[in-house]
């Protein structure tokens, strides 16, 4: 174990309220480079809110985010945060339904492209070279996720499980330093879940991605994650390895209710 590495992202005392509702209350967490971290908790615990804060959709009322050792300015736009190297997938799919798998994944490369729109339209020298490089990168991802057979299929024609996979592909295409996955296995059958779990593990082990994910399937979470943070009603109630979390009475209480109550 190579502990005490500088965390890639540190969230300190994050609080946010929606109207009167305190969605997150002084939550702190760290994501270490090279790990798979899970955020779990009952419905409405604030998991997705946390992800939205990490990638900049929401601005926290209090607290600060430190990414790669630098504090994030309060009003940073999500697209700039994405450009820093944070990519994500969504709980409810957000693909371009009219575009093919290839097109959708190519979109994920946008942040990495440098040539301007005019030179792209003319497909000249630099743009041509760049386009080919990016296309090759996309092909490596297609190969990685084994979606060769749907390369040209419009996203709207794909079954749910495959759309999820395409979304993952698009996030990977951005070559993020930190990959956020919001319920990557929601609504999948056992076989599809096993496939995605395999891909998430491979993305971590083989491609070296740092991953933070939200997932409800405890079996999967316990199997693939290095570390787990548990939220309940906007508060962090536990943090630790899967084994520690399994044995934590507060977690059991949050999930199963008060014993004998």
């Amino acid at each position: 174990m190579n502990e005490k590495k500088e965390p890639i992202l540190r969230a300190e005392n994050i609080s946010i309220t929606f109207g009167g509702l305190k969605a997150l209350d002084r939550v702190s967490l760290e994501i270490n480079p090279g790990e798979i971290m899970a955020i779990i908790g009952p419905n409405g615990a604030g998991k997705t809110t946390m992800l939205n804060i990490i990638n900049g959709f929401y601005k926290p009322d209090e607290g600060r985010i430190i990414f790669e050792g630098k504090e994030r300015p309060k009003k940073m736009k999500p697209n700039l945060i994405a450009a820093q190297g944070i990519a994500r997938t969504f709980q409810n799919l957000a693909l371009f339904t009219g575009m093919s798998t290839l097109g959708n994944i190519m979109v994920g490369r946008t942040m990495l492209m440098h040539s301007n729109i005019f030179s792209q339209a003319l497909y000249w020298r630099f743009s041509q070279k760049e386009e080919i490089e990016h296309r090759a990168a996309v092909e490596r991802i297609i190969d990685f996720l084994q979606i060769e057979n749907i390369r040209r299929t419009p996203a709207s024609m794909l079954p749910y499980g495959l759309r999820k996979r395409v979304e993952l592909a698009r996030a990977l295409a951005a070559e993020p330093k930190l990959l956020l996955l919001d319920e990557p296995m929601a609504g999948m059958n056992l076989e599809e879940k096993e496939d995605i779990a395999r891909f998430v593990l491979d993305a971590n082990e083989e491609l070296g991605y740092t991953i933070a994910l939200i997932e409800h399937d405890m079996g999967v979470v316990m199997d693939i994650c290095d570390r787990i943070v548990v939220l309940d009603f906007g508060e962090k109630i536990a943090e630790g390895t899967p084994d520690e979390i399994k044995a934590d009475p507060k977690v059991i209480k949050a999930y199963l209710g008060e014993a004998g109550g």
Binding site: D143, F144, E148, N149, R198, D202
Partner: protein
């Protein structure tokens, strides 16, 4: 004239010399692009791998198991192993542990070449059980980065070792290749067989080379052909086609990107030569019919009309009779609006010759393809004969025979009606199984185990497996496969098992085609949850009944078979599956096994008035786990004509 090389390493070296580097020997679609390798690349890759094997201690006559989808690396591995005088043992990639264990152990494999993690995992288990297995070599490193063993090596690392070994031993490769004799064993091909353990058919370099050349000459094929390699490498058909013929002629082999992209990849390549078992032709037909049914009515009408025209025309063409002018004109129109686009869609527009082999094909399926203008022909062969026995000649086609004997082949029919033959491809024996060899090979005559006869035109006609042909109680001849193949013409029927030996009538198990029937049910808003559930829906029984009626009608037209019409049927609760042992990997029904396992179902078919039967079914998953479920199967009657 120079003597043609007779061992595959020499043939490969010869190819590298005679073909320019611009000519593709093998292509593989990778990252969405066709990557091609010239014959020189093929040789270099093979040599490096062979020398790497030598560095690992691979000796002459050592065996190497090969498992995976068709990849250039696996073909190079096969050739590399042969260069050292070794013998490749290709295995079916979907085989379960028990089968693999038997073959790897029986064939005494010391090395294994696996395509990817999935296959490597299988061998890692085997290695613990079979200490003789020394090294596992893998091609695709995906998912294997955490496996650290000194006996588990990447294909490219073996090649790297080979380059080093080659520098230190510059003579080694050519010495090994020159050491190899044409009559040395070149491959052991295990046949699954419908009974007992698999048997290892030993074939030599000379036999594979001669038979491959025989095939090429028969159809005037040369180095300009393009073929798709997508059939299991363990099947002799693929070995002859993607390896034997490819090397002897120098034509180009194309490996699809993945199994699921084969159809699309084939469209891009436009192969000129195809070799496939009937199940592939059946599947393609089913896919076509599903798409046609989903299309607009005008397309459906046009398809139905012009297919009738095509059938009429093909009947005339097969009989070598002139086609009436009006049909000729209609056919041209049909070609423009139906057959042409359809054939193009299948990626078969450039086909010069297509073969169906390995099993009997239903005449209706056969005629369907021919009527589209695809030159589909039948070939009769067995692993034991290097697939070389008889095949149809252009202009002398017959929908229910398998053509005249191939050049150099003698065929005779035994007194019991069994087909015996002497082929230049006849095998040398079963590996470590002299008893079985003695039973099959007598005085140079090979017992095919098939019942058949020679027609007046001098064509061989196969009726069925000799041991399967029997009689109904009233003495009517009962050839189960004949009836099953007729049933399989229906897009809704995937497999079937006909019963009737010593019974009053014929009754069948039917295995619905899940894809086609599910599509049909969806269009009619029939809800279902699973295969079992769908198969037991009354409307599905009605649907299948109509299909059986068509078969009965056609049987009733043949006075000899009139009494073998189907009277009762039941729809099976699961697909027949090689993992469960009901059919072989090449999809031949294991009748005895089915009869024993499903005795109560057969009894129900022959118990008058019994209209359903309870069934406990066991499913085997790919990883060998099993689960049991209970079902109640309906039994229904069909009218006869």
């Amino acid at each position: 004239m120079n003597e043609l090389p007779m061992t595959f390493p020499k043939i490969l070296i010869h190819n590298a010399e005679r073909f320019p580097p611009t000519k593709a020997a093998i292509r593989e679609k990778d990252y969405g692009i066709w990557q091609s390798y010239s014959w020189q690349d093929y040789l270099d890759q093979t040599r490096d791998f062979a020398l790497g094997l030598a560095a690992l201690g691979f000796k002459k006559d050592d065996k190497m198991a090969i498992i995976g989808d068709n990849r250039p690396q696996l073909y190079w591995g096969m050739a590399g192993c042969q260069c050292l005088g070794g013998v490749p043992v290709p295995l079916f990639q979907d085989a379960i542990h028990k089968e693999l264990h038997y073959i790897v152990d029986h064939s005494e494999c010391k090395f294994a070449l696996a395509e990817d993690q999935e296959q490597t995992d299988k061998f890692m288990v085997l290695k613990e059980e079979i200490p003789r297995l020394k090294y596992i070599i893998y091609d695709d490193p995906r998912g294997l980065q955490n496996y650290k063993h000194d006996w588990l090596i990447a294909f490219t690392d073996v090649q790297e070792m080979g380059r080093k070994f080659g520098k230190e031993n510059p003579e080694y490769f050519m010495n090994a290749v020159n050491d190899l004799k044409p009559d040395d064993m070149s491959i052991i091909s295990y046949t699954s067989g419908t009974t007992g353990n698999p048997k290892g058919v030993m074939l030599t370099h000379r036999k594979i080379a001669e038979c491959s050349r025989g095939f090429l000459e028969w159809d005037n094929l040369d180095e300009t052909e393009n073929v798709m390699a997508y059939l299991p490498m363990a099947w002799i058909g693929d070995h002859i086609f993607s390896y034997g013929q490819a090397l002897t002629s120098g034509f180009t082999v194309n490996c699809p990107e993945s199994t699921s992209t084969t159809v699309h990849d084939q469209k891009e390549i436009g192969p000129t030569h195809i070799f496939a078992p009937p199940r592939i032709w059946e599947n393609i037909l089913t896919q076509i019919m599903i798409k046609i049914e989903d299309s607009a009515w005008i397309k459906r009408k046009a398809f139905a009309y012009f297919m009738e025209v095509a059938k009429r025309v093909e009947k005339k063409r097969i009989a070598n009779e002139p086609v009436p002018l009006i049909d000729n004109i209609l056919y041209k129109i049909g070609d423009f609006i139906v057959y042409g686009p359809l054939v193009d869609n299948l990626g078969m527009r450039k086909i010069k010759v297509a073969y169906t082999a390995g099993e009997a094909i239903g005449p209706e399926i056969f005629e369907f393809y021919r009527s589209l203008g695809i030159n589909l022909k039948q070939l009769y062969g067995m692993t034991e004969s290097t697939a070389y026995i008889s095949m149809q000649k252009d202009g002398d086609i017959d929908s229910d025979s398998v053509g005249p004997p191939a050049p150099g082949v003698e065929i005779k029919i035994s007194d019991e009606g069994e087909v015996l033959y002497k082929s230049p491809g006849n095998f040398t024996g079963y590996f470590k199984n002299p008893e079985a060899t003695a039973e099959t090979l007598e005085d140079g005559w090979l017992h095919s185990g098939d019942a058949g006869y020679m027609t007046e035109r001098g064509h061989l006609k196969i009726i069925d497996r000799a041991k399967d042909v029997s009689k109904l109680k009233d003495g009517t001849m009962f050839a189960p496969k004949y009836i099953e193949n007729k049933l399989k013409f229906s897009q809704y029927i995937k497999e079937s098992v006909a019963h009737g030996m010593d019974r009053d009538f014929v009754a069948v198990f039917i295995d619905i085609d899940y894809g086609a029937v599910a599509n049909w049910a969806e269009r009619r808003h029939i809800g279902f949850t699973s295969y079992t559930d769908l198969a037991q829906k009354p409307p599905v029984y009605e649907l299948i009944k109509d299909e059986i009626l068509k078969v009965n009608k056609s049987l009733s037209e043949d006075p000899k078979l009139k009494n073998s019409q189907i009277k009762r049927y039941l729809l099976f609760h699961k697909e027949l599956n090689p993992d469960d042992g009901e059919i072989t990997r090449t999809r031949k029904v294991r009748r005895k096994f089915v009869a024993e396992k499903y005795g109560n179902l057969i009894e129900a078919l022959y118990t008058p008035d019994q209209d359903s039967v309870d069934m406990e079914a066991t499913f085997t998953y790919e990883d060998g786990r099993t689960t049991t479920m209970k079902a109640n199967l309906k039994v229904r009657d069909v009218e006869t004509f």
